[in-house]
Subunit: 278 residues, 2 copies
């Protein structure tokens, strides 16, 4: 572990959120902290990046002291611009959070918090996403303390290329947390419902709402573990290839590795109907 | 295959893009098509969903004929609201595209096109994302024809739960396409650079730019295959768990499956410093 590691802190709730303040406080005990975070809340942005508009970066002060760089973009933008333009030296670690709300099961793929840590990993930096699994007003200190503990371990041991950690902490006082568990992404998905309303001009609009359904019970899954009072630590990666399905598809007609797109016998060379209906 | 399958078509370039028009034309030869697509371009939105503002849906007409539903949201929003609120019956297939630009290698995780197909898969519907790998003005007809061919195969054979297909078509006339290949997600990442400029008020702003770097040469990877003139078909999935790393982490101190968060001997019960510095 570097003597005084450089730690980049990001989030998706915005640079003024209480969760990032708690995280920064703990990370400062581990190393040199730089905060680069969205200037506005960016929940559920997924792994969005900003390509069609320019980014602005301004200094953000808190109680009259410089706190960090506020970016007019997404969490992934923040990590990219931090590493590629703001920071003079490459960070040893990226920590994203503490998110106000759970990032388990299917929510991982919608999560701005996880996307910031994913972006760190893509850039070759060990990265951790940390979330507190409640939407109610909450104390982030226990989650931030665990973040420091796992960050310290990651600084010493490193992470494999392409792998990050997704940490979810239940909203319990430390004495009631049962421990931590190495988990995998749960299978639960959102039971989306759209709440249809009428605006004052009588035009319809919709609010997305809903909750997780089919939550796994086996504590090997992230959501089950946090619901049972454990801190969930999932190693995740972003090679989405379904290797087993690649094998199955080799038996699909017209899709094998050596298959050429066949021209129909006698078909003219330049007609549009090149791919006959299978 | 259902006699007249119901096909939901979405994209991320916006409902007025030429790529979706080409796709709709081909899909109408296969079944009953409903278009639900963003009313504005949504590139690189990742798997964003809209939770903090309401969604609007309006009917979109083309040459005086109803073409589809335009949604004030992301590609993932479109598929969610189509299946949960707009469509009377569940679609048999979701096809997203034809995207104007490549969705290979790391770009998959930034892709709105792929996120629409992923959302279909999450909702239990076989889904396909289709992209044409050029940013130059292009003819989408070859890509759309291949989309129909693979859609037809998927309607007959189905896809495993949780698996979608990510198709990338090189911008070549049909006769010059060498065939199709079953591929995996490439390892190439973006060499991001930030182009710093000054606005008329002399304030700095940044444009994200760059290109893919470290492109694999092995044709088993998506980007390599399209560069060599093949249509790339990758089966992908969204369980991000790194199973191998779960095993490694069982040997990490304080993180084993049975490990409880330890209280330091003699430490008071309610103090904040519950997690000693590792």
């Amino acid at each position: 572990m570097p003597k005084r590691p450089r730690i980049l802190v990001c989030n998706d709730d915005g640079i003024d959120a209480p969760g990032i303040a708690a995280l920064v406080k703990e990370m400062r005990r581990l190393g040199e902290v730089t905060v680069v975070a969205p200037h506005q809340q960016q929940s559920a942005v997924g792994h969005a990046i900003t390509m069609n508009s320019p980014l602005r970066v301004r200094k953000y002060y808190k109680h009259g002291r410089f706190f960090g760089h506020a970016v007019s973009g997404t969490p992934a933008d923040c990590v990219k611009i931090a590493v590629r333009a703001i920071l003079k030296r490459r960070p040893d670690l990226v920590v994203s959070g503490v998110n106000h709300g759970s990032n388990t099961a299917i929510s991982i793929i919608y999560s701005g918090t996880v996307s910031a840590a994913t972006e760190g990993t893509i850039l070759g930096i060990p990265s951790i996403a940390v979330s507190l699994t409640t939407y109610a007003p909450a104390d982030f200190s226990v989650a931030a303390q665990f973040a420091r503990r796992i960050a310290s371990t990651v600084l010493r041991r490193g992470l494999p290329e392409g792998t990050l950690l997704n940490v979810n902490v239940p909203p319990l006082p430390a004495r009631r947390i049962k421990g931590s568990r190495i988990t995998r992404q749960g299978k639960a998905i959102w039971n989306d419902t759209f709440d249809a309303r009428r605006d004052p001009a009588n035009k319809e609009y919709y609010w997305l709402t809903g909750g997780l359904q089919n939550v796994d019970r086996d504590l090997v899954y992230d959501e089950a573990a946090v619901r049972a009072g454990y801190i969930s630590v999932s190693p995740i990666q972003y090679d989405l290839t379904d290797l087993a399905m690649m094998e199955v598809m080799k038996r699909w007609p017209g899709l094998g590795r050596q298959t050429r797109v066949k021209r129909r016998p006698g078909a003219p060379t330049r007609r549009a109907k090149r791919y006959p209906r299978a």
